[in-house]
Symmetry: D3
C-alpha cells in the first residue's frame, strides 16, 4: 500500500552549467538560464510504501511525516534562491530532475521504519511539468 | 492499459483504537481521535487493468463501472458516519488506509471480467493526503 | 483592491431543524439530515477590501491575516462535529449559508484596519457547491 | 526517473461501431454514440523514462518535447472532429482507450533518445475519467 | 448572500456566421470555425442571490436546484452538437458568450422564488477561458 | 457580460522597502524579504466587460486578447527576476498587489474597444493567495 503526502514551497533557481558559455547554456536551457533566476511554486508529493500497522491501521504517523517533510525540504528550500542558498545546488544544476533527487536523498533514511520506506518523490515545477524519482525507475535515486 | 474512474463521497469518521485509552489514542491520532467525529469529502479513483475489447474499443463498460462504484461505495458510504453506520468500520479503524482496503474488497470481484480486473484503488482524504491500495503493493489488499 | 486568502478545515455536521420531525427534516435536507452526521473538507476564502499601504505595498499583513483565520475559524472548527462542539451550531443549523455567516461574524472586526475591511467570505462545502457572504449581498451578513 | 509533460486539445468524437446497428451502438456507448458527435477538452500527460544527462541534468530537452507533442498530437487533433478528420479514427473507434494508443504510436519513436524513451501516455476525457497506455501494462501499446 | 452550484456537460460546436464566407469566418473565429465541429467539457456555475430561509437556513433547496440545472441545461446539451441539435444554436452562433446567455434565459424564471433569484451564470469553455452573464453586467442577459 | 482569460508566468521577486533596514523589512515581509529572491508560478486572470458583438457573438477577439496578454505581461515578466529586470519593480515593491496594479496599467488601454473595456485583473501568487484589481474596487487601479 502507498501513502502520499503533498507539500509546497516557493523558490527560485537558475539552470545553467558553469562549465559552459552563456550562449551554450541558453541553447540548452532557454529562459531557464537567465542568471538573475526565476521562480516556481514547487509541489512535492512524497510516497511511502508499507503495510498498515495492525494496531493503528496506519502506514506511517501522519504528523511525523509532515514534520520530516517540513524539516528536510520545506524549511530549507521555501523562499530561497536554490543555487545560492541551498547546497548542493551551488554545484548541482537545480533542474526539476536534480531537485527531486535531492529530496529523495534527504527523506529516504528519515521515513524508513518497521512498516514503511520511501517509494517515490514526485516534484511539480508547474502544473504541466513534473518528474518522478523512485525505485520504480531503473536507476534508483538513492 | 489502465482505465480510471473518479467518484466522491462525504462522510465522517473517528480514528481511535477501542483497546487503547483516550490519551493513547490522542497520542497516536491527534485530532482525528475526537470521539464526536469529523468529516471529509473523500475522492476515490478506481483503476482497472485490461485490454480494449476488439469490438467496442473499451476496457470496461463505463456506465456499468459507474453503477458498480455507486452501488458498492458511494451509496453505502456517502453522508454516513463510517464508524457507526458502515460495517466493518464498527470494528475496523477507518483510517484512509483501511477505507481504501475495504473499497478494494467491495469492488474486486464486481469489476472482474473477461477483459479487465481491479488494479488499484486510490483514496484521497484531503487534496494533500491519499493512499493507493493495489496489487502493485507487495501485500495485495484482497 | 481585494486581497483573498484561502484556508481549509475538515468538520462534520447535521442539517436538521429540531423543531421539525425526522420526516420533515429528511424532506428538506435529504441525507444531510442523518443524525449521525457526515463531513466535508470545507474551503474558506476570506476577501479583504482596501488599498495597499504606501510604505509596504500591502493591503494587510499576510501572516497576521493567516493567524486571525487560524485563531477564529480553523482552530475552533477543524476536526470538530459542528453541531455538538462549536457554538452557535448547537442552536443554529450549520448549513453552508449559516457557517459562512458565522465566519463573517468572527472575522469582520478582527480584520478591520486603517487600510482594509472584510469584503466577502466564500465557503465551499464541496468543489461543486459554495456560498458567498458579503456586503455585496443586499442584506449584509454582519 | 520519469519526466511528464501535460498538454490539452479540444476535439469532438462519436463512439460507434459501423458494423453494428444504431440500437446496438446506443446499447454499448449510450449518448457517446450520438452520430452528430460531442466534444471534450482532452488532457494528455506524456511520461518519459530515463536518467538525467550528466552535463545538463535533464532527462529530455523540454522545448523539444513540447514541440514533438504539438506536432504529433495537438496540431493534428485540436479543434477537430476525430472520426472525420483525423486518421485512423475514420476506421478505429475513437474511445479514450484507442486515442491513447494512437498517441503512443505517434510519440514512441519521436521521443526515443540516448537517455530516454516513452513510458506512459495518460489521457483524460473528463476530470473523472482517464486511461493509461504504457509498457507498464501487460500488453504494450506499441 | 450568494449560493453557487457547479455542473458539467460535454458538447461540440462550430463558431461561424452563415452570412459570412468561409474565409471571413476563419479570419474571425480561427479553428473554431471548422465546420465539422470540435468539443469541450463545459463547466457551468449557477449563482443565486437571496437570504437564507429562517426555518431551513438555506437560500434554495439544493436538490431542486440540481434538478432544474439538469432539466434545463445538462440533459438537453450534454453529448450534443449544439449547432445541429440544440435550438436556438441553429441560428444563434454558439460562442461561449451566447451559450451563457441561453443558460441564463433557461434558468432565470425557474430559480426565482420568495427567497432567491438568478444572479450570475459563469460558463467555462476551457480552464483558461470563461464568461460571466448576470445582472452585475451593465446589460442584463435576460 | 464578462469575458476572462487566464495565463501563467514564472518569476522571482523580493519584497523589501529600500528605505527600511533589513530588520524592519524582515519584520514586515518575513521570508519574502530574502534579498536573494524566491519565486512563484503567477496565474493572472484578465476580465473584460462588454456586450457580444451582434455579428460575431463575441465580446473581444480571443486570439487578439491572448496576444495582448502575452506581449504586455507574459513575455516581459516570465522567467524574470522582477526587481532587477522588469521596471517599475526596480523602484516599486513587487507585492502581489503592486504587480496586479502594473498589469492593469499595461492592459487597460490595449483591451479597450467599441464593445469592451478592462474590468478586473486577478493575480494568484499561490493557489491560496490572490488579489483583484479593478474598477469594482473603490480606488480604481488605473
Amino acid at each position: 500500500m502507498f501513502l502520499t503526502r503533498k507539500a509546497e514551497f516557493s523558490a527560485s533557481h537558475v539552470c545553467a552549467n558553469p562549465a559552459l558559455s552563456a550562449e551554450e547554456n541558453f541553447a540548452i536551457y532557454g529562459a531557464n538560464a537567465n542568471p538573475h533566476g526565476h521562480g516556481h511554486n514547487y509541489v512535492v508529493e512524497v510516497t511511502l510504501e508499507g503495510e498498515p500497522d495492525p494496531v493503528t491501521g496506519m502506514v506511517f504517523d501522519l504528523r511525523e511525516l509532515k514534520e520530516i517533510i517540513n524539516a528536510e525540504v520545506i524549511d530549507p528550500m521555501d523562499h530561497r534562491f536554490l543555487n545560492r542558498e541551498v547546497p548542493p545546488f551551488d554545484t548541482v544544476i537545480p533542474t526539476t530532475e536534480n531537485i527531486a533527487r535531492e529530496i529523495w536523498k534527504r527523506l529516504a533514511a528519515r521515513v524508513s521504519s518497521q512498516n514503511a520506506r520511501l517509494k517515490n518523490v514526485r516534484l511539480y515545477e508547474t502544473a504541466d511539468l513534473y518528474v518522478d524519482c523512485g525505485e520504480i525507475s531503473e536507476t534508483p535515486c538513492n
